[in-house]
């Protein structure tokens, strides 16, 4: 019983934490994304030796992160104030916004499934993933000071 209560309270906590401030939530999600890509990039840039196991872990983490992305929860209508660089175009074209995210998720899944075996394969995958970042940021983000 106590366990159940604990589980329920954790669940409500998680839900409330996720909906308290969508702006913070999405920022955090994007930062996590960048951090994982940064780990992978170290190997692409030759700052760290290629290690297939590390790559596998990182790509899977990237997939978990991408699967968590819920546009409706993270970008509810009106969440345009505060520390956000979200463009109004997100709400003007929610379907297009979701489509770019769906494509990203598909590419992340493909990268994780492909399990790059060497640095060149990894570099190619990072290139594909990175093009998703810039495509979305080209239209749906406004750079602010």
């Amino acid at each position: 019983m106590r366990k159940l209560i604990f589980a329920i309270s954790m669940l409500t906590l998680a839900v409330s934490a996720a909906s308290a401030d969508p702006v913070l939530d999405r920022l955090q999600m994007m930062k996590e994304r960048g951090k994982i890509v940064g780990e992978l990039a170290k190997m692409v840039k030759g700052e760290q030796a290629f290690d297939a196991a590390t790559v596998d872990t990182a790509l899977k983490a990237l997939q978990v992160n991408a699967e968590k992305f819920d546009a409706d929860a993270l970008f509810p209508a009106g969440s345009t104030d505060g520390d956000t660089t979200a463009s109004p175009k997100i709400w003007e074209d929610m379907a297009g916004f979701k489509a770019t995210e769906d494509k990203y998720l598909a590419d992340v899944k493909a990268a994780a499934a492909a399990a790059p075996a060497d640095v060149d394969a990894l570099k190619a995958q990072i290139g594909v993933l990175g093009s998703n970042c810039s495509t979305c940021h080209q239209t749906y983000r406004i750079k602010k000071g």
């Binding site: 960048g34 890509v37 940064g38 505060g82 970042c133 495509t135 983000r141 750079k143 000071g145």
Partner: protein, 316 residues
């Protein structure tokens, strides 16, 4: 009464002189034909590098096109600015709708002087204020490369500007203030070669200052705050400070800058966004040496604080 008549006459004469002077001062000037002749016929292979450095496709390719479509220079991209809406024209090799009938001289006059083949001023939304710093030989190479690109029919819409910006002749006076071929940043003798090469790419063909430098009330680049970042010319938002001043990229190494231009990732693995996405794709096509030169220059220029106002505090 005669006194008043005299005064009126004097005023009229002065006004007349003003009109004539304004007309003369606003006259289009062209490149010395000998300079163009000396630059030779140009080399298409070398011109491809200039095409990428210059970012021609970013504005002149059909909006939304990719890969080979980026070489179909139909124009059509609309730039909505406070002066009105500028529409990038067709610069494909099409004779009627593009620039297929332009001579090398015509092309050089557009690039270096902002003057059309018929002798009219072009609007500086076409960044000839930067291209004016280019070597005539590079302009000739670019001309040769563009002649290898397809002719695509379809004239782009005209600009849509309000008075007085719709008076082309007025641009002549503006050019007297803001058009010149001198470098912006003076570099002392003995400056390392990559910095000098980077200055050429950034200030000339790359035309980075057109967006990254704030503009004054007349729309001229505020060179005192060169590359300090600026409010975006279109819509909301800002264009970042790319000097090493506060708010800028002082913490980025030269390697970080070159890597960003190649991959689109910032040092903390945020990604390129906005209008810079197309620019970065072009920069990725340059050689590592060219990207390193751009980076070396950006680390060498005077630091400035942000050239745009601080962000408004959150409203909620």
């Amino acid at each position: 009464m005669p006194r008043l008549k005299k005064l009126a006459g004097a005023i009229l004469t002065l006004a007349g002189v003003g009109v004539v002077a304004g007309w003369m001062l606003s006259a289009p000037t062209k490149v010395d034909p000998q300079v163009i002749a000396a630059a030779g016929p140009g080399d298409a292979a070398r011109g491809e590098r200039i095409f990428n450095a210059g970012g021609c496709a970013s504005c002149h390719a059909k909006p939304g096109s990719k890969d080979a479509g980026q070489l179909e220079l139909t124009g059509g991209l609309a730039l909505k600015t406070p002066f009105g809406t500028f529409v990038a024209p067709n610069i494909s090799q099409h004779g009627k709708d593009g620039i297929g009938l332009w001579s090398r001289e015509d092309f050089a006059n557009a690039m270096l002087k902002g003057v059309s083949p018929s002798g009219e001023h072009l609007y500086p939304a076409f960044p000839y204020t930067s291209y004016a710093r280019m070597k005539p030989a590079d302009v000739a190479d670019l001309y040769a490369f563009m002649q290898t690109l397809p002719a695509v029919s379809g004239k782009a819409d005209g600009h849509s500007l309000a008075f007085p910006f719709n008076v082309r002749r007025g641009i002549g006076l503006w050019k007297r203030l803001y058009l010149g071929s001198d470098p912006v940043v003076a570099l002392p003798d003995g400056t390392p070669e990559p910095v000098v090469a980077g200055r050429y790419l950034v200030e000339g063909p790359g035309h980075c200052g057109e967006c990254h430098t704030p503009r004054n009330f007349a729309g001229g680049s505020d060179k005192v705050r060169w590359l300090a970042g600026a409010p975006a010319a279109e819509g909301e938002g800002i264009v970042p400070n790319i000097t090493s001043g506060e708010g800028g990229i002082g913490e980025w190494s030269e390697g970080d800058i070159a890597n960003y231009l190649e991959t689109g990732f910032t040092p903390d693995f945020d990604s390129v966004g906005g209008a810079m996405v197309e620019v970065q794709k072009n920069m990725a096509k340059l050689t590592p040496e060219d990207r390193a030169a751009i980076a070396a220059y950006l680390k060498a220029i005077p630091p400035h604080p942000n050239g745009y106002p601080p962000r408004k505090p959150a409203t909620n």
